[in-house]
Amino acid sequence: MASGFPPILTGRMTEAPGDSHTIARYEATGGYTTLRTALSGMTPEQVTEQVKASNLQGRGGAAFPTGVKWGFLAPATPRFLVVNADESEPGTFKDRQLLERDPHQLIEGTVLSAYALAVHHAFVYVRGEYPKPARRLQRAIDEAYAAGFLGSDILGSGFDLDLMVHLGAGAYICGEETALLNSLEGKRGEPRIKPPFPAVEGLYSRPTIVNNVETISNVPWIVANGGRAYASIGDPASAGTRLFSLSGHVKNPGNYEIPMDLTWRELIYDIGGGIPEGRELKCWIPGGASAPWFVPAEHLDTRVTKDDVAENGSMLGSGAVVVMDDTTNVVAAAHRIVRFFAHESCGQCTPCREGTTWLERMLWRILQGHGRPQDLDMLMDVSDNISPGLTWPPAMTTICPLGPSAVSPITSIMKYFRDEVEEMLAAGVTT
């Protein structure tokens, strides 16, 4: 966790590697005191105020300001809070660490958020492939119930909250908030048309807030230290610290909590230790498999902030940085990513269902040495029919951004490595 900054999210797990997930350790390090203070001394509005002031942006991918989202919550009751722990974007493994290593931080954040939102029933939707994080979280929830931090009349405040873990069963699309809600309702995980947004019509058609694990895990610190303190960390437009998941061809893969004011060079070389075995950096994905790629020549010295990344045509997304060295066959890498989206398409909308599969099969054919010269234009044109104009953020012919996400690797390799693709088509190269 090298970054020279006192961590907000990961401090406990670095300091107490053995038992940071237990309630004993959590309380011993100041855990749940914020909840006590808030429930006895703050109104729900005051809690919300701090979150708004913090300028905390959602860590699930879209970086939407959390306080603003909370402000959209419709007044009807009952209403729900759902913590999105479906983390499935290739390259991302930060929420897993938060669940496994500091579940009480998430629970405290959830109770605080529920209090602020006047919610009495909250869910954590954990992806099915995360049984261990789910177990740790469940045990922590049991501990929290026993200690009176969950259940009815929490800490004598009169506030009630039930918290349930719901396990997914293998579907990336359930990370999309409305697909998640359908899944939680016992349906296929197909995204819904928005509007209405979940804050107005969510779970069981009731007002619902969906937030990412990391987003909610920030809430105890924000309420304890004040929103302004949080807002002052990092780049003014990208407040606070973020957990970045570093993987691929780097010496030190892992999750790193950093304030958003470093450059990519610092992140990949100083924190990540650079490229192993003396190889060269070829490119990297700055924000999860959905994000357009960056290359050293253009982006190494740009900053890791929401706005700088956006200006360069990509996004910080889920915070997953996937590094590729100069040995990488970029067509094969792009194929892997497109394959992922084709496999995970829910299938309801035509361009995504048909288009992602078509792209995957074209790339596969090219990798098998059966590419044709016209495939280059076809790849781009089919991509264009999923994401018209091939801009970023993407225009969409689809319901949700999954389909257009499959286009990012294709536009990226065409933009930076077109000669390699052409060469491959010409030579009929096989991997």
Binding site: G128, S183, G186
Partner: protein, 211 residues
């Protein structure tokens, strides 16, 4: 209705099913956990399993099938005792997942998603399992092992065959066959999978019965 439908289920799973139906604001919401339970009971999601879940949730079997078939972890075909899921998504791919998959398939005598002849293994390649920092990674009955070199993957399979553990424990496999992890896992845990269903107390696992 519950009593009739679940006549064939174990007492523990019957109790779990009732608890699930009671826990959600809406019966239908229990369909996903109930499918896991049904998989524990039947070994995989059989037609009978879907009929039972339909009766419990007030859905039609066609609706249950529609839900079950949407998610990859509800196995509708028989699965071996050890379901090995090798991640082949981007980060694992970059670090040699294809060689790991080949080694595992070779060692278990499976190919193309089939089960091994002895019914011991099913091998699948899966999309990202959130272990990118410990690539390449795999799961046995959804219990994670990170940093698995191809030869270690093969050794893991041999071990499963020879030792035949009743309970699949992540930490044990990681210690014996794993390498670099995405992050520090902290203390060793003794809760693990007893079937190719995620080991989470409400669905059954080796651990204490949950909350």
């Amino acid at each position: 209705m519950t009593a009739d439908t679940l006549a064939g289920w174990s007492a523990a799973n019957r109790r779990r099913a009732e608890a699930m139906l009671a826990a959600y604001p809406d019966r239908r919401s229990a369909v996903m956990p109930l499918l896991y339970l049904a998989a524990m009971e039947h070994g995989h999601i059989t037609e009978d399993a879907m009929r039972e879940v339909a009766a419990l949730t007030g859905m039609t079997p066609a609706q249950v099938q529609s839900v079950a078939s949407f998610y990859t972890m509800y196995k509708r075909d028989g699965v071996g005792r050890y379901l090995i899921s090798v991640c082949t998504s981007i980060s694992c791919f970059l670090l040699g997942s294809d060689a790991l998959l080949a080694a595992v398939e070779e060692e278990t005598g499976t190919a193309g998603g089939e089960s091994s002849d002895d019914g011991l293994f099913s091998v699948e390649h899966v999309e990202c399992i959130g272990a990118c920092g410990g690539a390449p990674a795999l799961q046995v009955n959804y219990e994670l092992v990170e940093g698995v070199a191809p030869d270690k993957g093969a050794a893991l399979c041999r071990w499963l065959r020879d030792a035949g553990p009743e309970i699949v424990l992540s930490d044990e496999m990681q210690q014996l066959f794993g390498g670099r992890r995405s992050f520090d896992w902290a203390i060793r845990e003794h809760e693990g999978a007893v079937a190719p269903v995620p080991a989470f107390a409400p669905y059954g696992s080796s651990g204490e019965e949950g909350a």
